[in-house]
């Protein structure tokens, strides 16, 4: 089961989907586009723990993390 994790005031909200289900995959891709359009950064990590940013939806990603746009503190 693939997961999209979106940071929010509750800690995070998780969206689970079956990447083999075309309808669920389309919904996940739409969520990805909406979030990144709203300024969220999307990131994935590999088995070693190295993190990378992703700018387009990766249907093979097991876990994608989204955090809101940065602002100066």
């Amino acid at each position: 089961m693939a997961t999209q994790i979106v940071m929010d005031h509750t800690g995070d909200t998780r969206h689970y989907f079956d990447a083999k289900d075309a309808q669920a995959l389309a919904k996940a891709e739409e969520r990805f586009k909406e979030l990144t359009r709203d300024g969220f950064t999307a990131a994935v990590r590999n088995a070693a723990g190295d993190v990378s940013r992703v700018r387009s939806f990766d249907p093979t990603a097991e876990e994608t993390l989204f955090f809101p746009r940065l602002v100066g503190g």
Partner: protein
Amino acid sequence: MFLFGRYPVEARSLIRVVRRLSRIFSSKDNSEARSQRLLRTWLTPEQRAQFDAKRYFDVIGCDSRKRYRIYYGTATNVHEIDVAGRPKVGWCFVPDGYLAAGDIMLAQKISLETNEVGALLIANRFPIELSRRY
């Protein structure tokens, strides 16, 4: 016993409120606890060990290869570290919105490791002398 005898309804109501508040603040599922769990999951084994021992972890900027230290906190918690391991300057940048400390620290880590220049362009510099940590 005295409370229940004299103010049965009020006392029980108060106890219920206190219990509920206690559950909220000590819950392992509040935003802070959830953000800490998420952060720990995304740290490398070395960063996790450092964070467990010292309440901070180091990251290497993807562009400059400089070292930054991210302290537990929600603001003025990122310090650039010089080659001798001393804090050099502070950088203040956070994800927009009301997020718990773990989420903020994770966003700071990912930003420095994947888009250092972009993060520092947004960030405000601050002198370390102003920080309470030194």
